[in-house]
């Protein structure tokens, strides 16, 4: 993974010093609440329902064992001994003291971590595929490009006060998208052109929230070295013309809709034309320098399907099921990609305890070159595990509650913190997730259902990505009571689509039954191994609606 040099470290150390000063001025009453707000947000600090929340960046999901142990220690020393992985690959502490945050940031900086721009109206953490660099299907490893974007976006002098938050995601796999790039402000698809050159297809104007929109292509092919100047051009247009009069209409997606993608492209291309050959253009040396941080680890020369693995799989059905669900093919023979699921029954999706974090760090050291990735689905990945060690790893992961064999299945839900923590939420989301986990805990049934994305948000800001869940659940407030609206047919994949609302909302206690009716209907109607999404797209919306609400008169 990327290792800081003296410049990276100096910038981060200066940031820690800057925020210490800002916090001191705030505590001394020299900065008002309102004026401190963007300063703390750009250092990851929200004021939540009960306490501040600190969101720490995990740039494109990459962290090492030392960093994981530091996160564990912070959760013990400054919080209540647990933390929460978010859908944008970040980690959140829910109970720090405001005045201790500068100290936490200093501890993070010592292990090359930070909370820079994890919130606020600025360019946020860039996200990507959790399988980056270890799967054969990708065009190239997307992580060097993410790191280049990270550096360019960090304290960008022109774009620190955008109309609204700005999120970029990068994908390098044709026909699969684990980074939800179509619903980001900018989605970058790394592609090759006909000449075989690496470049980017650029998507703009996607997003969730109150106005969910699938992004549109603004440029089919952008040469590799033009990445940053093109981003400058897009965001410069947005910074000048994006609406600032209404925060719900301030995202770039609204500007793109208002102008139309053709006009937006004209403006961006005209701006880019003026700056494309400026000093901001990437150099081959810089591309090469950053790529050198992501070369393969020292893989051993191994064969696929070693005898130990085959034997363990034959003898142990539970292990076999985990292999089938949570372990993925690696580009290198003899290795595998393992997902540690943070979806244990009785635990909010994405939550980990300090003890689990320490243990995950140990597992990473023992089995995967000391490296860990966080995922959009709120899980963790050990990307370079020898196949002959899978059984040993599984046993340990299972004992830690990290081997629930449900990756991609119904109970591998995405869920925002909701009304239990968040001051924006209209309804709680975690109890809905827990009710569903309890109701649908039969592994045979879950495996038979196959892949289903169930996403839950506690309000229309859509942090739980309900619009792009195959089944989406949105918490709504009706006269002070919590209700839940269900939508079907969403997808965040390369075939991205937005879910359609099924009908009137439900009380929380009805939700497991509602989900059961939807699933029963799917099981009854599916043909030839169709996934839920495929079946929904074939059958259409109304039959599902009827299955839940009964026949309309």
């Amino acid at each position: 993974m990327y290792q800081y040099d003296e410049y990276d470290q100096q910038i981060l150390n200066e940031r820690v010093a800057q925020f210490r000063g800002q916090m001191q001025r705030f505590l001394d009453g020299k900065i008002s609440n309102e004026e401190f707000l963007p300063l703390r947000l750009q250092n990851g600090i929200y004021i939540q329902r009960y306490a501040p929340m600190l969101r720490v960046a995990i740039p494109y999901g990459a962290l090492n064992a030392t960093q994981m142990r530091t996160l564990a220690r912070i959760s013990r020393d400054y919080d209540k001994g647990y933390a929460h992985f978010s859908t944008r690959q970040n980690i959140q502490f829910n109970w720090p003291q405001l005045e201790e945050c500068p100290e936490i940031l200093a501890e993070l900086a010592a292990v090359q971590m930070h909370a820079v721009q994890t919130s606020g109206a600025c360019i946020r953490n860039t996200t990507t595929d959790e399988y980056a660099g270890v799967i054969a299907e990708e065009i190239v490893d997307p992580r060097p490009y993410c790191e280049i974007i990270r550096q360019w976006s960090t304290f960008h002098p022109e774009f620190a006060f955008l109309p609204r938050k700005f999120k970029i995601a990068v994908n390098a796999v044709p026909d699969a998208d684990r980074a939800a790039t179509m619903v980001h402000d900018i989605g970058i698809h790394i592609v090759r052109n006909e000449a075989g050159d690496v470049g980017y297809r650029v998507i703009v104007g996607g997003g969730l929230g109150r106005t969910p929109i699938i992004g549109e292509v603004i440029r089919e092919f952008l040469p590799e070295e033009d990445l940053l100047t093109y981003l400058d051009a897009i965001i410069r247009v947005y910074n000048q013309f994006g609406r600032r009069d209404n925060k719900y209409k301030a995202r770039i997606k609204i500007l793109v809709k208002a102008l139309g993608i053709e006009r937006m492209a004209e403006l961006v291309e005209a701006e880019w034309d003026r700056i494309r050959n400026s000093e901001g253009k990437l150099t081959a040396a810089e591309l090469d320098r950053v790529k050198q941080h992501f070369v393969d680890p020292a893989y051993a020369d191994l064969a696929d399907e070693p005898a130990e693995l085959v034997a363990a799989r034959t003898e142990n059905a539970a292990f076999a099921r985990w292999l089938q669900r949570n372990v993925r093919k690696h580009k290198k023979a003899g290795y595998a990609v393992v997902t540690l699921t943070l979806k244990q029954k009785g635990t909010p999706p994405g939550d980990v305890t300090a003890e689990q974090m320490d243990s995950i760090a140990t597992l990473a050291d023992e089995y995967s070159f000391g490296l860990i990735r966080s995922t959009h689905q709120q899980n963790l990945v050990l990307a370079d595990v020898e196949q002959r060690q899978l059984f040993a790893l599984w046993q340990q992961a299972k004992a830690l509650g990290l081997a629930t064999p449900t990756l991609g299945l119904l109970t591998d839900m995405i869920c925002c913190p909701g009304g239990d923590f968040c001051s924006l939420a209209n309804a709680k989301s975690i109890p809905v997730a827990q009710d569903i986990q309890v109701r649908f805990d039969d592994l045979d049934y879950l495996h038979d259902l196959g892949e289903i994305d169930l996403n839950i948000s506690g309000c229309m800001n859509a942090c739980g990505h309900h619009h792009v869940g195959n089944i989406g659940v949105l918490g709504v407030d009706k006269k002070g009571e919590e209700f839940y609206q269900v939508s079907l047919g969403g997808s965040s994949g390369s075939d991205a689509s937005l879910g359609k609302i099924l009908g009137p909302s439900f009380a929380r206690e009805q939700m497991p039954n509602v989900i059961a009716k939807i699933l029963d209907f799917y099981v009854a109607k599916r043909i030839d191994g169709e996934t839920f999404l495929e079946a929904y797209r074939r059958i259409g919306h109304d039959p599902f609606k009827e299955a839940v609400y009964g026949k309309a008169d």
Partner: protein, 165 residues
């Protein structure tokens, strides 16, 4: 009264002054774009002497001032709220696209923690809001010693300025 910073020091007795649209213009007046557009024949003598300044609202974009900016010795860009970031692009475009070499002055809701960004996009005068701590403000100009991006003073990003790795 805002306190003016230039060259990382507070400046007393600044000769430039904002003039409302219904007030007479004299030397070193800073006027609105609307006024220039309607009265430029009468005001040209001040402009030709380098003694006229322009005040831009955050709504006014480069298309509106690119034809006239050369007439002004000072261009003041307003920040109606410190969170309104349009002025950063306006200043940068003035410097980099239009190659304006006169003074670009930040005015309005100008706070300590914006100064570092402002100087990088081309502002060289800062009307600091009067409740801001003066010593802290001067320190803010050196918050980061070697930022990642290029800026108006040196367009090279860090990867071109320094041999890394």
């Amino acid at each position: 009264m805002a306190k003016l910073i230039k060259n990382r020091a507070f400046v007393e007795n600044d000769k430039w002054h904002r003039v409302a649209d219904d007030q007479p213009v004299n030397e070193y007046s800073i006027i609105t774009l609307e006024r220039w557009n309607t009265e430029h024949h009468d005001l040209q003598r001040f402009a030709s002497a380098g003694k006229l300044g322009l005040w831009l609202s955050s709504e006014q974009t480069i298309e509106q001032f690119e034809g006239v900016f050369r007439n002004f010795g000072v261009i003041a860009i307003d920040f109606p709220k410190f969170t309104d970031g349009r002025g950063y692009s306006a200043a940068r475009l003035l410097r980099e696209r239009l190659e304006y070499s006169g003074e670009i002055r930040a005015t309005g809701d100008v706070l300590i923690d914006q100064l570092f960004f402002m100087q990088r996009v081309g502002f060289d005068a800062f009307e600091l809001r009067d409740d801001q701590d003066e010593a802290e403000a001067l320190k803010a100009f050196t918050t980061f010693s070697n930022p990642y991006q290029g800026d108006v003073a040196d367009q090279r990003p860090l990867f071109r300025r320094q041999a890394r790795g």
